[in-house]
């Protein structure tokens, strides 16, 4: 199984349409100077209260590559629903996240199954994300000691680079996370995940910053695992809406079978 496990808000943002957004709070973030406050601010503004959108996930592996179009709904950090729209073979397949549980709906057999804890580190829909990436949810500031590693220009862009070292008791798998944020608009640029031996395990890059749903967001995010050269998963948003009218009842098993 993959070592990839928890990328927290960043991953959820990518997969479950809680995209990194820059809203009115951007100004607040820009005004901060304490590293922990900045990361926490970026972390928090990347979670919408609720959202809905359409994205394409492209997965390239050594053996196959495919693109899936997905529709997604989310409410806070606890509830999310993803339904695959294409390709036809997988269309209708859906994943529901409700708290710490994950359920899958399989249209071919018209059945819903609960994903057991033992499969949480398995790949989600063949991508470089794991089921665990979808479920685990906490704020970076709670699990990591955050320090400013660099402040200045990178390729002509003013950035902060933060070092995130896990707190001793934090239930995380990473030994360190490096995180670069643009100073001008507090947009994330990349996040690098290292194991406990200090080896780079995977890199997540954010780009294609544009307005979607009235907000500036990195519309594309790519995850590249270090141990599988040439492989990656890329999520591109084509539609996004924020603060849509959703409540907890929406994220039900009935809805999982029949998402609209």
């Amino acid at each position: 199984m993959s070592r990839i496990a928890i990328a927290r808000a960043l991953l959820l943002g990518a997969v479950l349409a809680i995209p990194p957004v820059a809203s009115a709070q951007t100004t607040d973030c820009a005004g901060l100077s304490n590293p922990a406050d900045i990361v926490d601010c970026v972390d928090r503004i990347m979670r919408g209260e609720s959202s809905q959108g359409i994205s394409t996930m492209e997965v390239v592996t050594e053996n196959w590559s495919r693109a899936m179009e997905m529709q997604m709904w989310s409410l806070g950090t606890e509830h999310a629903l993803v339904r695959i729209l294409s390709p036809r073979k997988d269309a209708g397949t859906a994943t529901l996240k409700a708290g710490t549980e994950i359920w899958n709906y399989l249209p071919r057999v018209d059945r819903t199954i609960k994903i057991p804890a033992s499969l949480m580190s398995a790949s989600w829909m063949g991508s470089h994300f794991t089921n665990d990436d979808l479920v685990k949810e906490s704020r970076l500031i709670e699990d990591y000691e955050i320090t400013l590693a660099y402040e200045g220009d990178r390729d002509g862009v003013a950035v902060w680079e933060f070092d995130l070292i896990p707190r001793p008791e934090a239930p995380v798998v990473w030994g360190r996370i490096g995180y670069q944020v643009r100073k001008t608009d507090t947009m994330p640029v990349w996040a690098r995940y290292y194991d406990e031996d200090g080896e780079l395990v995977r890199t997540m890059t954010f780009f294609d910053y544009r307005n979607l749903g009235g907000r500036l967001v990195p519309a594309t995010m790519r995850v590249v695992p270090e141990d599988k050269p040439g492989e990656f998963t890329e999520v591109r948003y084509s539609e996004l809406e924020f603060d849509v009218d959703l409540d907890e009842e929406f994220f039900s098993l009935r809805r999982l079978r029949d998402a609209r």
Binding site: T61, R66, D90, N104, L106, R111, T112, K114, G126
Partner: protein, 418 residues
């Protein structure tokens, strides 16, 4: 005149029959102990290898070179193009030591009833061929094996408990496909197997090979493994070499591995057991040698006047030594006859009807192989002879000192009673 020495030895044994009988019984029991213990030890090793290889893996496996250790779904024999499965199975079965061969597909995935889901390996097999290679399909304690071509699945007892599923129930099987899709289909539970090996009972399910291939989007010519049965497990190395030669260089690049390579821990245990057999011989006869030496010393001391007469008549020390050694050898021969007469019938009975020890202990696993609660005995053919030789050696060695002492008896003093 050669036979005279043996007659003399034999008659000397008759001088004190009780003492001779006790010595013979001592030696014969030593012989029996070594042979029976060796038989038991070999039974234990055979049981471990039989079950460790016979239950699932087979004694020989053929798979793509890069298949292990990850067992990736893409790493099929012959790569993406696959192979002529029937031709390769026939080649593997072509070695005279290979009794049967069976193609397999492995898929890692989920078996679910909806609310309960178990993760495991779905093994795709041809049930009719598989049953001649591994015994997994003989452990069915409820229902039956899956029917070829049908969406039927045989699951382990622990998995069935976890899913609360019985034969006839419907389960969903989900497995990532070789094309990146999420293979999923409905299967009917055809039966439940119970091997007592938790790893198998909890983590394995068996379905027809063509159905598993369809589930994980593999065409019929793509399989992961050919498993083969070699009746004499110790011939598996030679069989692997034979199969490699049969596949040849023009065939698919395949790794042919005997169980001695993929289960090295069992080979280590077997080697340990063999070295213990030799230690057993040394211990048992190392103790017996003192008893025999004592007997020989006593009997030669009683006969010192006789030896003095022989020496006085010009018989020479060599004659005395030969006489005592002949006696020891005859003693060894009698003990061997006695030992064989007792041991062989016991071994034959024990081998044919190993006692059920389930009232003392249950089945357990050792080096990954299931050990049934029986006291299995295998014929330690080589040890029957080696132990016999060791016993003669013991008798002879024990007689050397008494023989030497007897040949040094001073004739005049001894005959004068001084």
């Amino acid at each position: 005149m050669k036979g005279a020495w043996w007659r003399i030895g034999w008659r000397n044994l008759g001088r004190n029959r009780r003492r001779t009988l006790i010595t013979v019984i001592g030696l014969a029991l030593g012989y029996s102990a070594v042979v029976v213990m060796t038989g038991l030890s070999r039974g234990l090793v055979a049981e471990m290898i039989d079950n460790g290889t016979g239950m699932l893996t087979g004694q020989l496996q053929v798979f793509a070179e890069d298949y292990l250790p990850d067992r990736g779904i893409y790493d099929t024999l012959g790569g993406r193009e696959g192979i002529d499965v029937e031709a390769l199975v026939a080649e593997v079965a072509g070695d005279p030591r290979v009794a049967a061969a069976s193609p397999r597909v492995y898929a890692g995935g989920l078996v679910s009833t909806g609310a309960a889901t178990a993760a495991g390996v779905v093994l795709g097999v041809d049930p009719e061929r598989e049953i001649r290679v591994s015994r997994l399909l003989t452990y069915i304690d409820e229902g039956r094996a899956p029917t070829p071509g049908q969406y039927e699945i045989l699951i382990g007892r622990e998995m069935a408990n976890q899913l609360d599923a019985s034969p006839g129930d419907e389960v969903i099987v989900v497995a990532p496909g070789a094309d990146g899709s999420l293979g999923n289909d409905l299967f009917i539970v055809s039966g439940i197997f119970s091997t007592s090996v938790t790893e198998l009972d909890l983590g394995y399910a068996v379905a027809p090979i063509e159905v598993v291939q369809e589930l994980v989007a593999l065409p019929p010519e793509r399989i992961h493994e050919i498993a083969a049965r070699v009746d004499d497990p110790w011939a598996a190395d030679a069989a692997a070499a034979g199969v490699r030669a049969l596949i040849g260089t023009d065939g698919p690049t395949a790794d042919v591995r005997p169980w001695t390579e993929f289960r090295p821990e069992m080979v280590e245990y077997a080697n340990l057991a063999t070295s213990m057999e030799w230690m057993l011989i040394v211990f048992v006869f190392g103790m017996a040698i003192w008893g025999v030496a004592n007997t020989m010393l006593m009997s030669s001391f009683e006969r010192r006047r006789e030896f003095a007469v022989l020496l006085a008549l010009g018989g020479g020390p060599a004659l005395i030594v030969r006489s005592v050694l002949a006696e020891a050898l005859v003693l060894g021969a009698v003990a061997l006859l006695f030992g064989v007469a007792v041991t062989v019938p016991v071994l034959a009975w024990w081998h044919a009807a190993p006692p059920d020890m389930s009232w003392v202990y249950g089945g357990f696993t050792m080096a990954g192989g299931l050990m049934r609660p029986i006291l299995r005995v295998e014929w330690p053919t080589s040890m029957i002879f080696i132990t016999g030789g060791a016993m003669f050696g013991t008798a002879l060695l024990a007689a050397l000192y008494p023989a030497w002492r007897s040949s040094r008896v001073p004739p005049a003093d001894t005959l004068a009673g001084r």
